[in-house]
Amino acid sequence: MTEDAEQLFPIEARALAESLEAGLLDLKSHPEDRALIDGVFRDLHTLKGSGAMFGHTRLAQFLHDFETAFEAVRDGRLRVSPALVELGLRACDHAMALLDGGSAEPGEVLLSALAALTLEPGAAQAAAQPDDLAAGTGVGDSLALGREAAAVPDQDGPPPWSLSVYLAGDTLTLGGRPLGVLDELRALGAQRLHPLLDRLPPLSELTPDRLYVGWRMELPGELSEEVIREAFLFHDEGLDLELERRAAGPAEAAAARGATAAADPEQPDAERRPKGSAGAMMRVPAERLDEMMDRVGELVIAEARLAELAARSGDTLLITVAEEIQRLATSMRETTMSIRMTPIGSISGRFRRLVHDLDATLGKPIDLVIEGQDTELDKTVIEMLADPLMHLIRNSADHGLETPEERRSMGKPDVGTIRMGARYSGAEVVITLADDGRGLDLGKLRAHAEKRGLIGPEDDLDDAEIRALILQPGFSTAQSVTELSGRGVGMDVVRRTIEQLRGTLEVESEPGHGTQISMRLPLTLAIIDGLLVEVAGERYTIPLAAVEHIIELPEDRAQETGHTRLLTIRDKLVPFLRLRQLLDSPGAPGPHQKVVVVTAGELRVGLTVDRIIGSSQTVIKQLSPLHAALKSFSGATVLGDGTVALILDVPQLVAFGQALDAVEAA
């Protein structure tokens, strides 16, 4: 047993508990679903089994009793009811608390409640009487050979055993080893062994993989019948065994004792301390993935240098190798990234549980709809998102959704809906959280913000700015601080987390119809495909996923000045930024400028550059804190020749271009 496996168990147990929880919650809405019931049972069972293997006896016992109570459901004696689901969920919590080494809620209370539901007095008693789960039962248990034999030291022992045996005919097909059985019997002291050939069929009827031969032998009389039978482990089905005592000489008995005394009595296994070598790793710590990502990043940089040197040398063989390495590095990069990607559905179980609890606490029936569960994000991003999303759901349930009475009076269905969605949009993932509640009251928001001193009465704010006020630190619109929302984690914390992930947050709301929060997050954090461009002799990288298309800047527009202008691209007016001016680069642009049209969300902007160099794998290196104020760049990358190129921050540039456009339009 290894420490590796021991460390793995709690992780796995938690995953199982989550699956169990999800299953129970699903059962609430589909109480008749066999597959769900079976799934819950299987999770319980696996958790129990693994728990027992790793010495979590209390956990295993509890789960065993839990399972016993649930058997009534599986066997169709009990229908799934909300009360049962609720108890199941609490039992799930209790099991996790046991895993952590304690629990506030005594398990017996839960189990008796479960047992009461199932109307099975036996199950209630089970709570008070731990069964023999940890002790280990079954055939495997009795493998310690000669344990009982060694405890019988009588000199003038009973007469020896006479044994004749035929193993099942299919023994060989099933992989049984008759020779192994004979070896074991010999170790027990078997003597005078004779083959029994009376069941051999005529050659024409003989099937080569069937076993027809039997054996007759004598065994020391001190052996108990049980010990002898244990030699036939895995052979008890179809076994034809005759065992009887007959008279024998004392010399034989003595020889038998010699053999059995060597057998090694088994130690009780209450205090198992697993130790051993490592096997094939299935789960790896996230830091190792980070390290691997770093290495791949360096590989990509080295590969770019090789490609450049190869191209310069003109050596076709070298160029072929360089291209091969480039292909390998690209696929390696993709594989490494995909290892880190996790579907957002992996955390949705927590949300469903939260909504279930909120439902009960607030007395507002809530329907949680999750869309786009398969959308994948970097694991780190997903983990960091869990808390903000929980907070947003809590907020929606607490402040957004009305009571059933209010909803009815407004002609809405009693059940409020919270909709969580995740989808890809260019190089970003957009996560939205929308409710169909009362929406934000802009007048109240403004008044509240003034009272809080966040804004002055004379400040001129548009609707979007007023909505954004809820993201300010210390803003709360709740009439009273409820147990749910008033936990000090405000919307500003949500905003900060999103910004840490280089994402943006947007609040939309329609009074009476609901509120929607949209979060835009970068898909990956470490390596991207970049488009390398040149502006005034300097090279810059634009994330390729944000590039929509590239056009030549028409001659007549090339000589204009000013930061931004509009350009008709595919029948649409698109503002464009002259990077040369934006970046304060010296000199005049050449004759054939290009416009790279980039998008961020629904908006697009064109960026004029002198030259397109090509696409390249870009390893993002963070800028130092000293450069944090540089809004136009999201990072830097090292090029094949060792020089540094800055990475343009597309969302910032798009916002900037659109803002200038708005100013010009005004």
Binding site: M1, T46, G49, A144, G176, P274, G276, G279, M282
Partner: protein, 122 residues
């Protein structure tokens, strides 16, 4: 030559536990996460023995053993069946499906090695 044992269990920790115990004792192991997975592995790899759990998604232990026995060349490969219950009917079903024998969870590494060495010959 090292002999390879195919370890089939949906619980990663149990799989690891069995696997590492066997590896420490000089066996090679291949791990499969459920019956379906095990079956596709068994088609190409030629395990000397199989240890399989019963309760698994996609394809349970009994189903896997039946399908495994239907593959050519699996005659003579011992299959050990793992379960949490010590139920006689299940045991008989396992045998009928083609399992050689069975072990009840929990078991410790000594028991495991004892069974495997018995089944494969020391």
């Amino acid at each position: 030559m090292k002999r390879t044992v195919l370890v089939v269990d949906d619980s990663a920790s149990v799989r690891r536990l069995i696997s590492s115990t066997l590896r420490a004792a000089g066996y090679d192991t291949i791990e499969a996460t459920d019956g379906q997975d095990a079956l596709s592995i068994a088609r190409t790899a030629r395990p000397a023995a199989v240890i399989t759990d019963q309760n698994m998604p996609n394809l349970d232990g009994l189903g896997f053993i039946r399908a495994f026995r239907a593959l050519p060349g699996t005659a003579g490969v011992p299959v050990i069946f793992l379960s949490t219950e010590n139920a006689e009917t299940l045991k008989q079903k396992a045998r009928a499906a083609g399992a050689l024998g069975w072990m009840t969870k929990p078991f410790d590494d000594r028991k495991l090695l004892n069974v495997v060495s018995k089944v494969l010959g020391a």
